[in-house]
């Protein structure tokens, strides 16, 4: 009897030990692989606030990054150990204050806002190179910003509208060619859109939308649609038939039933594809470049490219500052809506 109970205890101890070791190994592995992912982000941010024209002080970089990265990992540990939201927030606040203090003490003298002057100076190139340079066409960053916003928002609006309606139709109606249509959607996903650059260029040229923001908007809309339709179909499939029938016997028309009863169920999907669609439009580079023949329109990606390359030579500080400015909207959007993005898999799987 005693021998048997000792056995159980040692087995329990061993399994607890193994669980701890496994968890430790897993966390350690994830920490190590996340360093190369995280580091460049901090790097860029630090450079954008510290670099002087033409050069980067690498000591500043290392000092700042070591403070920031360790702050992130400490917060990660706190987040794992602490369940209450209030305490997590307190911990985050303390960490932010500590790292701000640390940054101030170690590299405080090297930080400045000079690299962000492109935000307020509409004539950046003239200031740098004089009015006579070819850079005269180079716009103020806010013009590119607004264009990018326009491209991303408009294409998202189209994508979401079409994907939602066709997802609903595919989910609810039996019609001739429905299954081949669904298979066709999947086949489209096999080809990388860049393979289509030249035909797309020709089509856009023939319909006369070259050098017009409508071109990239249309192309971006169409390229994302197959995937988005599939996602939305999955979400609609998960809404029970009964509910819709019930609404219709309750006196609603099909459209009212869709709006009042079905749509509230797929909000998560709509938000998810909106975020994905917006970020895709926001970061688009290939097609906005391919569909213009000169500097007819500017968006943030082309702006960043020219800042980094053609116009000004290399000013790392400013490139970094533009990058930070460029990445901020997607980051903010993602942070606020990530809860909805994680639901995507649930709805998507059912498709």
């Amino acid at each position: 009897m005693t021998a048997a109970s000792r056995d159980w205890e040692s087995l329990a101890r061993r399994s607890t030990r193994m669980r701890r070791i496994n968890a430790g190994l897993l966390v350690g592995f994830l920490v190590i692989v996340s360093i190369p992912v995280l580091l460049p982000f901090f790097w860029v941010v630090v450079i954008s606030f510290s670099a002087r024209t033409g050069g980067v002080e690498s000591l500043v970089l290392w000092k700042a990054c070591s403070i920031l990265v360790s702050a992130v990992f400490i917060y990660g540990a706190v987040h794992l150990a602490e369940k209450s939201v209030r305490r997590r927030l307190i911990a985050a606040g303390i960490l932010i204050a500590l790292s701000a203090l640390g940054l101030f003490l170690t590299v405080g003298g090297d930080l400045h806002l000079q690299n962000y002057r492109f935000l307020v100076n509409p004539n950046l190139v003239e200031e740098l190179r004089g009015a006579a340079t070819a850079g005269g066409q180079f716009p103020w960053v806010w013009i590119a910003f607004i264009n990018s916003l326009f491209v991303a928002a408009t294409s998202t609006l189209f994508k979401v509208t079409v994907a939602t309606l066709s997802g609903y139709y595919l989910s609810r109606f039996a019609f001739r060619g429905r299954s081949s249509f669904l298979q066709g959607l999947l086949i489209l996903e096999v080809f990388h859109p860049w393979m289509l650059t030249i035909p797309i260029f020709l089509v856009i040229f023939w319909i006369g939308l070259l050098n017009n923001l409508a071109g990239p908007i249309l192309v971006l809309t169409v390229l994302d649609l197959p995937f988005f339709i599939f996602i939305m179909k999955g979400f609609f499939d998960a809404v029970p038939w009964d509910m819709e029938m019930s609404a219709m016997t309750d006196g609603a028309t099909r459209r009212q039933a869709f709006r009042l009863v079905v749509l509230p169920h797929v909000w998560a999907g709509i938000i998810a594809i909106s975020v994905l669609g917006f970020i895709k439009g926001w970061e688009e580079y290939v097609f906005v470049t391919a569909l213009r023949t000169g500097n007819s329109y500017w968006v943030m990606s082309t702006y960043l490219y020219y800042v980094a390359d053609d116009v000004m030579g290399v000013d790392y500080g400013m490139v970094a500052a533009v990058s930070v400015f460029y990445m901020a909207p997607s980051l903010i959007l993602y942070l606020f809506l990530q809860r909805h993005l994680t639901q995507l898999t649930f709805g998507g799987i059912k498709g």
Partner: protein, 356 residues
């Protein structure tokens, strides 16, 4: 409240016939149950009445008016779905008010009506909750309230009790019947549970394979089933059916013969009698117990006899017989039923003597 008529209603999907030439009528304020096994077309009939499906052939009339082409939203029919189909994004109050959104009802008036209906189904205290926070029985009541608030011509209940536990089912049965009587709304209950049908409905439509087998009261379905299907579907435990044939004015089954009149020679006939007509007695035929199922008040035995497999009941609690035991069984066949094996129809005017 309306008088409902179905006239030769048929629903086909390609080759499959879901509802086959169904003709019947419901009087104003009547409570009718459609009883049948799954896949017999009973839910399809319900959806035809609601307008969710359109009939392939035949006519549906409300108060004598043809409504085949009328949209579901204009039929003023209330449905309680098996899943209740409550709208999870709305509160209970909003759920109940939903049907009134599409009618020109004053806001205050709508709220007053909703309060009344909520009181009727006893959910006044739940109005601010969401469906996800309710138990199955409460959801059921909300669904009922939502179906009733528009004063429907016809109330359709699609297996409304099948998701409830046994005790709740019992109380909801009485509750639904009470509410139906109070409002006097014509009601159709679809169910595969004969106890639900017999306890709640005035009349029962027994369906099988898309066709109506019999429309009758619960008692008549039990005592005078028109077909073998009804005989074996209605009644718990099921009826004993003995298959045999007629030879020299005798019903022959196994090595047993029964003198009778009224059957044509050489016909293949099934004889049915309820398990309560089989009694363990010394003067009976030999049989061997093969199954024992305690059912609470009684114990159901199954036995292999010269006639075939027979079910019979004995009072609980203590089983008198054990598995494999040899017993002697007597059958009392005064009210035995005879069915034509070809078309399954009952054969009347058979009088019989005794086994020989």
């Amino acid at each position: 409240m309306a008088r409902i008529e179905l006239d030769g209603v048929t629903k086909r999907w390609g080759e499959t016939v879901a509802v086959d030439d169904v003709t019947t009528q419901l009087e104003n304020g009547e409570f009718v149950a459609i009883l049948g096994p799954s896949g017999c077309g009973k839910s399809t009939t319900l959806f035809l009445l609601a307008g969710i499906y359109a009939p392939t052939a035949g006519t549906i009339r409300f108060d004598g008016m043809r409504i085949n082409e009328v949209e579901p939203k204009d039929r003023n029919v209330g449905i309680v779905f098996q899943s209740y189909a409550l709208y999870p994004n709305m509160t209970v109050m909003q759920n109940i008010l939903f049907p009134l959104r599409f009618k020109s009802v004053e806001r205050d008036d709508a709220h007053r009506q909703a309060q009344e209906i909520a009181a009727l189904v006893q959910i006044e205290s739940l109005l601010e909750r969401r469906p996800g926070q309710l138990s199955g029985g409460q959801q059921q009541r909300v669904a009922l309230a939502r179906a009733l608030i528009k004063r429907p011509n016809l109330l359709l209940l699609d297996e409304p009790l099948s998701n409830l536990d046994a005790i709740l089912r019992l109380s909801m049965r009485t509750e639904i019947r009470r509410i139906q009587r109070e409002l006097g709304v014509t009601t159709i209950l679809v169910t595969h549970d004969q106890v639900e049908a017999t306890t709640m409905a005035d009349r029962i439509i027994c369906m099988n394979g898309g066709r109506i087998e019999q429309i009758d009261t619960a008692e008549n379905l039990y005592r005078k089933p028109n077909t073998t299907f009804v005989a074996s579907f209605v009644g718990s435990p099921p009826i004993n059916l003995i298959h045999g044939s007629v030879k020299d004015s005798r019903f022959v089954a196994g090595d047993r013969r029964l003198l009778l009149t009224g059957l044509s020679e050489a016909a293949h006939v099934s004889m049915g009698f309820r398990p309560e007509r089989v009694i363990a007695a010394e003067d009976g035929m030999p049989a061997k117990i093969t199954t024992i199922e305690p059912m609470g008040r009684e114990i159901l035995y199954g036995a292999e006899s010269p006639l075939g497999f027979l079910r019979f009941l004995e009072a609980a609690p203590m089983p008198r017989f054990s598995l494999g035991e040899e017993v002697r069984l007597r059958t009392e066949l005064e009210d035995a039923l005879f069915f034509d094996q070809g078309n399954g129809k009952r054969i009347d005017n058979v009088s019989l003597n005794e086994f020989s």
